[in-house]
Amino acid sequence: MLKLEEISKVYRVGAFGGKELHAVSNVSFNVKDGEVVSLIGESGSGKSTIGKMILRLISTTSGNIIFNDANISTLSGGNLKEYYRNVQGVFQDPFSSYNPIFKADRVFRLIREEFYPGTPDREWDAKIEDALCAVGLNPEHVLNKFPHQLSGGQLQRFLIARALLLNIKFLVADEIISMLDASTRIDVLNLLAELKSRGLSILFITHDLSLAHYISEQAVILYRGCVTEMGATDHIFDNPVHPYTRMLMASVPRLDKKWEHGVVDLKEKHAAVTGCCAFYDRCPIADKSLGCDKFQPMLTEAEPDHFVACYRHVER
């Protein structure tokens, strides 16, 4: 359904754009019909940039994003609108997603104005009711209110309902539950799972490994804009191969076992590097003789449906 082919995003920074900042480098992966793919990364990994590129909110520097055989970077006007009919996004901060001076249901009205201008009132109201029910909201409780009168969880569901009005096929969910409270976040996550079982494809962007494991069958791990490891979620979690993934797994706080001491490295990550493996300066097993300091390794297959970008792995 959605195919990323070698997409990159380079920002020019500094005086006269003399410096290049590689936010995303040659990232490729697919999202199939009715599949949830988790895009996992820490801050600055480029995960949100990828989400915004898919939503055409940021342009790509190179590479193609193919949605149902159409290259989305060439879309404009009516075609772009048609694309948004199929692909929508929900973002991290529920409050910043609403214009604070208008009522929350304005997001529905905009959809109506732009996509369903001729729909009669009654039909439209029924449609809204269906969408709200699908996300588990009671129309009476949430319609005709200002954003600050609703809770974060309600606002995020509201946005998902907005996307459902368009009968979308693909949803970019960018950290949508990281700002919600523990007792409500799991319900939103379950809602995504439910939508997935009804055939929706989801790109679930997160920094939280446990959430990714809970909901997705495919995962992509990003570090400094490069894919370090990707494949079936179970494979990656049961058998992490890349040293970065291993470090992540060791540092994530769990409720079933305590941290092992002494594996933390305190080397600070700097802005994206070029000309070596993205993880080279923090890697405990880097080996110059393999070229870790020269090139970013390609993804190679570690086992079926499990790919790793690490020279040490190839060696083993």
Binding site: D181, N190, Y214, A250, S251, V252, R254, H261
Partner: protein, 322 residues
């Protein structure tokens, strides 16, 4: 006994009336104890932490007694608290990264801070350097401006600063929430290390992330809607909680290894009450699956087993009646 808090009540003044953000908290903190303070946003955990160190407008002291190492803290008087702040009780603020003056070199800022507490920078420099080693920061940072440090480094620098005078009580307010997973672990473990080395006697760690608390805290206190729900050892709270809110909260947490296809977690239906006009009785009543008539009265926070406190009529049973 390091800290003792009795019936502490702190409200927020707003145009529409008082927000009862902390309504009667009674608990103790043992010597050397790291207590996690957990709860959802707006449950009063930050209010509790801040009122112990700087109770300023719009916060308003209503009643309560706070005793630290046998000495009563005048928390209602921000002026008088100056004698205690930083020396006896200290805080690592939530946005520690922005807590430093950007125009001062870190060394100079430290000297000024110490000067305001009448402590000589030179006397403390050797200890400061030892502490920097402890958090694996190079001594050069003293000659750097805050902007030259990364987020994790700043966080560690602020940790060193707040504990420089060996306070009895350290309050850590959401210190890990803005950090990446790897620095999160480093910072959390350093906090334990500080306690072990007596850089602080005991600590209160405020966070919404219970899994972090499971890693570092000795005990966990759960708050709900401005009141205490349960306090017990970390193992008890995670594996054998008694309060219905704690139970539901813990069971809603996704962990690595859980998949929705295998085990579907559920949240807690409903929303927390507004604290401007909170419901009478147990504030969890409306969302509670086991609520009964008695819950119309406020349940007392009683000890049902040694070190295990709970505010629930049903679960506390005879302890509450007595």
């Amino acid at each position: 006994m390091s800290l003792q808090v009795d019936n502490l009540r702190v409200y927020y003044q707003t145009l529409r009336g008082d927000v009862k953000a902390l309504d009667g908290a009674t608990f103790t903190l043992a010597d050397g104890e790291i207590m996690g303070l957990a709860g959802e946003s707006g449950c009063g955990k930050t209010t509790l932490g801040h009122s112990l160190i700087r109770l300023a407008l719009p916060m308003r002291f209503i009643e309560g007694r706070v005793t630290l190492d046998g000495e009563e803290l005048p928390i209602w008087d921000t002026e008088k608290m100056n004698d205690f702040r930083f020396k006896k009780i200290s805080i690592i603020p939530q946005y520690a990264m922005n807590a430093m003056n950007p125009t001062r070199k870190i060394g100079r800022m430290t000297a000024e801070l110490l000067g305001s507490r009448k402590v000589d920078f030179k006397d403390i420099l050797p200890e400061l350097k030892r502490r920097l080693d402890l958090v694996k920061l190079s001594h050069d940072v003293l000659d750097m401006y805050p902007i030259e440090l990364s987020g994790g480094m700043k966080q560690r620098m602020v940790m060193v600063l707040s504990t420089l005078l060996d306070p009895s009580l350290l309050i850590a307010d959401e210190i890990t929430s803005a950090l990446d997973v790897s620095s999160q672990k480093a910072v959390a473990e350093m906090l334990v290390e500080f306690r072990n080395r007596k850089c602080c006697n005991s600590a209160i760690v405020i966070t919404h992330d219970i899994s972090i608390l499971y890693q570092i805290a000795d005990s966990i206190m759960v708050m709900y809607a401005g009141q205490l729900a349960e306090k017990a050892s970390t193992e008890t709270i995670i594996h054998a909680p008694r309060h219905p809110y704690t139970k539901l909260l813990i069971s809603s947490l996704p962990e690595v290894g859980v998949k929705y296809t295998e085990r579907r977690l559920t949240g807690i239906p409903g929303n927390p009450p507004l604290l401007l006009d909170p419901p009478v009785g147990c504030r969890f009543r409306e969302r509670c699956p086991i609520a009964f008539e008695k819950c119309i009265e406020i349940p007392p926070f009683v000890e049902i087993e040694p070190g295990h406190f709970i505010a629930c009529w049903k679960e506390a049973g005879t302890h509450a009646q007595a």
